[in-house]
């Protein structure tokens, strides 16, 4: 096959006539599916028979070429060899994409789907290690935010929660190294507990079509995977250091990998990140420091027929919450909103005081698989996660310094997956998942926000993939999940009765205390989900993805059981015990043109969600502390419409223009009003200069424009002011103005020795030091967003 294609190449190649033949063709060879760089790929120039290999970074350089058209054959072990036609004019950069399929069949992939497509009938976005390193001092949410269709719901600047097509929290499933993160992801101010530096490749699927990970990903799925380890004797590592001016912080990450030809491999990675108070353009954002520590250990054996792996990750993050955001009632909120500056500004410090979060996440996983020729692959995985979340509020008296919230969430999951090739063209994936979860809320002298509970999940899925012909690929899958929750919850008697629960659920009352009721609800949810999709490959460049997905999500503990004051939001939040599952149906289309010079994708979608759970203000409650706005969860029918556009154009040698546009509109169909907290229209435009011939220098200037959100529900409320005897409106709904940010990013490589490369990067974010507030930042009432930041990146690969 290879020989054959090579012969064809030889036959149709034109021998170059020598003229000005000092040109260099350089670039990278990347995996067509996930953009990962391909090491030791061979490139042969037909006609001249020059042959080069890509280096450990997937890069190649071919010298002494003329201004002519060349045919280049690119091959890689286990890959389909592919011919490319390149027209040279001067030094040219070109990235070649190779189909990685064959390699996958041969490669022993320990974590099941490593680096391969997570779905074949939906457009998938990826962030490579290289791109992730640019966000090394930020968070996972910051990195994801750079993709079209993703925005972030922030609490200040350090709690960054990804928002996919307008949906977040429990609707976004995060898979970390094959393990579904269970880190109290329900809270809007809980950032994912995944260390960005431990990720080798990050994929984003903007929909629920990935049933093996769960049927409840109404918003989408984020898959983080560790870097692939080659099966050969090698020892390599990397140290990455970032120094930033804003927050006066440092981030240090180091990683070492050892592998053997017999398949054994080990990897260890650690990160320490410490920032003090961040700064807005005009003032210090007091108490916004962050102190993150994490490490991962991975040991495994990869063979063709079997493999086993053990993985452990520890993540701890201490995050300061803007001091000025801690309020006591609606009148404090009026003061905060009417004041252009935060009410509390202190001198810069690294100290993180209350209010703050201190989160620890342990994740351990063992996985093994066995492959039988002609049958398929069976894999078994057990994982354990422990998430301990401490939240510190400003407290009084003896409780000063104690956590207000102390939750420990333990999750055990057992997964059994089977991949079989039914026929040459039909693949079948089936699996069963069992999960046990328990939440334990310490008595902190404050009513429990999330009650103690035990939760059992059982899921079963099957997905069939059918390669009809060269052009059509079809996919269909179904999944069933059963969830049972056994809960112990103390309700306030006044709330219990005002909701009529005493009539509706008298059987779950265990005990009536002075002003509380102890209840033990047992909740059951049965959820069906499914996907149906097609991929149409018109030719090498044009592709169409069509996907319908049905996702069902059981309400999370916060939606069911919240009942109390949320300090950082200065509001009372009330869940609803009567909720049923939320069911989303999404149709997504993606038209893609892949071309090294001009490529684009257009991805419109329509998403109807019945029994969509949202939280919104309903009334104002008078307490001894004054007035508080009450936010209640409610179910409604929602519709989201949107479109993402990505485009990339090489307009001159080494110059590339990247464009991104994301639009989403969300409506509450029952009330006929816009949905709250929908991302405004956003567009990012970037000019990148990259020259692989000159130390791989990369200079990028990015413009990030966020429009004002003009569609929002009016949730303002009135508060009585005793001094004047009048009522004053608290404007909590008006979105802030549009803003425009300029960012600059650069890097350059230096070869230190044969084996090691030093990469120096220099980055400026918010170049013009623009003062702005973001509609999706929950602390936008209190302070401006981040001001200018300079950072220097040093990376040594060895």
């Amino acid at each position: 096959m290879r020989l054959y294609s090579f012969l064809i190449l030889l036959l149709c190649s034109i021998t170059a006539v020598s003229q000005d033949c000092n040109n260099t063709l350089s670039g990278t060879v990347t995996d067509f599916h996930d953009g990962s760089l391909m090491v030791e790929a061979t490139l042969i120039v037909a006609g001249t028979e020059q042959a080069v290999q890509t280096d450990s970074n997937g890069k190649f350089t071919i010298q002494n070429l003329c201004n002519d058209t060349y045919h280049i054959q690119v091959s890689h072990p286990y890959c389909l060899t592919k011919g490319f036609t390149v027209k040279l004019s001067g030094d040219t950069t070109k990235n070649f994409l190779l189909e990685h399929h064959l390699e996958e069949l041969n490669q022993i992939i320990i974590d099941g789907k490593a680096y391969s497509d997570k779905t074949n009938t939906m457009l998938q976005n990826n962030l490579s290690k290289e791109a992730l390193e640019r966000f090394g001092s930020g968070s996972l949410g910051d990195a994801l935010n750079s993709l079209s269709g993703v925005s972030s719901l922030n609490t200040g600047n350090t709690v960054v929660k990804p928002l996919i097509h307008g949906l977040h929290s429990s609707r976004v499933v995060i898979i970390n190294n094959g393990v579904r993160m269970k880190d109290q992801e329900w809270g809007a101010e809980h950032a994912p507990n995944v260390a960005i530096n431990s990720i080798g490749n990050l994929s984003l699927i903007k929909g629920a079509g990935v049933l093996q990970y769960g049927g409840d990903a109404v918003g989408g799925v984020i898959v983080a995977e560790a870097a692939k380890v080659p099966i050969k004797d090698s020892l390599y590592g990397k140290t990455l250091q970032t120094l930033s001016t804003n927050g006066r912080g440092i981030s240090l990450n180091t990683e070492l990998t050892k592998s053997y030809l017999n398949g054994w491999h080990a990897n260890i990675q650690g990160t320490m990140k410490r920032f003090g108070d961040f700064e807005a353009p005009n003032y210090i954002l007091s108490n916004t420091g962050v102190f993150e520590r994490n490490f991962t250990i991975d040991i495994g054996l990869k063979q063709f027929e079997y493999g086993i792996e053990g993985y452990y990750s520890f993540y701890k993050n201490e995050i300061g919450i803007l001091r000025a955001s801690h309020l006591g009632g609606a009148r404090d909120l009026i003061r905060a909103i009417s004041n252009p500056k935060p009410l509390i500004i202190n001198d810069f410090t690294y100290q993180i005081n209350a209010p703050k979060q201190d989160v620890t996440h342990h994740l351990a996983r063992v996985k093994g698989f066995k492959r039988w020729g002609g049958f398929g692959k069976l894999s078994l995985q057990y994982d354990f996660q422990r998430n301990n979340r401490l939240e510190f509020d400003i407290r009084r008296g003896d409780d000063k310094g104690d956590a207000s919230l102390d939750l420990e969430l333990d999750t055990h999951t057992l997964l059994l997956d089977l991949d079989t090739h039914l026929t040459k063209h039909v693949d079948l994936k089936t699996g069963i998942m069992g999960r046990y979860q328990s939440n334990f809320a310490q008595n902190t002298g404050i009513r429990r926000l999330i009650p103690n509970y035990d939760k059992y999940d059982l899921g079963i899925y099957t997905i069939a993939e059918y390669q009809l012909n060269d052009h059509w690929f079809l996919e269909a899958g179904v999944r069933f999940d059963h969830t049972q929750m056994d809960v112990y919850k103390y309700y306030r008697t006044s709330f219990w009765e005002s909701r009529n629960y005493n009539q509706l659920f008298p059987e779950i009352v265990d005990e009536e205390l002075n002003n509380q009721v102890l209840t033990s609800p047992e909740l059951n949810f049965n959820n069906f989900s499914g996907t149906l999709g097609a991929k149409v490959v018109f030719n090498e460049e044009y592709k169409l993805f069509i996907n319908y997905s049905l996702a069902s999500r059981a309400p999370n503990p916060s939606e069911l059981f919240s009942e109390g004051l949320h300090h950082s939001a200065s509001r009372i939040e009330l869940g609803d015990l009567r909720f049923g599952s939320e069911v989303g149906q999404k149709i997504s289309l993606a038209f893609q043109k892949e071309n090294a010079v001009f490529g684009y994708s257009i991805n419109p979608y329509i998403h109807s969600i019945s029994d969509f759970i949202l939280i919104e203000p309903t009334k104002v409650e008078q307490t001894i502390r004054g007035y508080f706005q009450v936010w209640e969860y409610r179910q409604t029918n929602a519709q989201l419409l949107g479109m993402d556009i990505d485009a990339s154009y090489v307009f001159a040698a080494n110059f590339r223009y990247n464009h991104q546009f994301s639009l989403v509109k969300g409506y509450d169909q029952t009330r006929d009003e816009p949905l709250i907290s929908m991302p405004p229209v956003n567009t990012k435009n970037e000019i990148v200069y990259q020259n692989t011939a000159f130390n791989n220098i990369r200079l990028a200037l990015q413009s990030d424009y966020s429009f004002r959100q003009n569609e929002y529900p009016d949730t303002n409320f009135e508060v009585f002011i005793p001094e004047t005897g009048t009522s004053e409106t608290v404007d909590v709904s008006t979105p802030p103005d549009a803003f425009h940010l300029l960012n600059f990013n650069s890097s350059i490589d230096f070869k230190v020795t044969n084996e090691s490369t030093l990469t120096i990067g220099f980055t400026v974010t918010n170049l013009l030091n623009t003062s702005y507030r973001n509609y999706l930042n929950r602390l936008r009432y209190y302070a401006d967003d981040l001001g200018r930041n300079f950072s220097i990146n040093l990376k040594i690969n060895y």
């Binding site: 996983r365 008595n443 059992y456 049972q484 205390l513």
Partner: protein
């Protein structure tokens, strides 16, 4: 409505967890257990019995103001009680009597948490943390009163547990008592005090 297979699944899971629990090394720290065990099969399931009731130690349910006429006479008692905290019940507000025009009163404030038994005296805490607290008195709606602080904190700034109130001409309106936590001290009043509101209790008051 319990499906059989759910039962089976639960019992399998529970037995696995029980097995693991038997082998758990409670005394060794979790992390080292994980590292040592290597296979990380330590599962520490929590005690799933009834959780203890959380006492809301910092809850303030009640504000009592006693106004004693300086020249002697029957004291006026004002009480603002909200027993369910942030719950849906509205606070119960009472004022025992109208104020008399031209009379100066010595005022004392008491705050407590009446969900505890016996009720917890929070005035004590305010006194202990006097540098971090201050009461404010605000009249509104045409009520003709003037107030002044009778006590001070350890730095000599106003505290306000004790105060004097002088009733002016016959009028009616509102009188609000505000307790701020971590205010800026000294200050000229609520407008520049900052901090967080711990109490904001408004009474309808008449001077006759």
């Amino acid at each position: 409505m319990q499906m059989i297979w759910v039962e089976i699944f639960q019992s399998i899971l529970k037995s696995i967890i029980n097995f693991l629990n038997k082998n758990k090394m409670k005394q060794i720290k979790f992390l080292s257990t994980v590292l040592l065990a290597g296979l990380l099969l330590t599962a520490c399931s929590k005690d799933n019995d009834t959780p203890e009731q959380a006492h809301e130690e910092e809850l303030i349910t009640t504000l009592k103001v006693t106004l004693t006429p300086s020249g002697g006479g029957t004291a006026i008692l004002m009480e603002y009680k909200d027993l369910d905290g942030e719950g849906s019940d509205t606070p119960v507000v009472s004022v025992s009597n109208n104020l008399a025009a031209g009379v100066t009163y010595d005022g004392v404030i008491e705050v407590s948490n009446e969900t505890e038994d016996p009720a917890e005296d929070i005035t004590e805490e305010v006194k202990e943390e006097n540098l971090e607290h201050q009461f404010f008195y605000t009249s509104g709606g045409g009520l003709d009163v003037t107030t002044s602080y009778s006590d001070s904190d350890d730095d000599g700034n106003d505290l306000g547990i004790e105060f004097t109130l002088t009733a002016g001409a016959a009028s009616s309106g509102t009188l609000t008592f505000t307790l701020r936590h971590e205010p800026t001290k000294p200050n000229t009043g609520l407008s520049d005090a900052g901090g967080e509101t711990d109490i904001a209790a408004t009474f309808d008051v008449t001077i006759e």
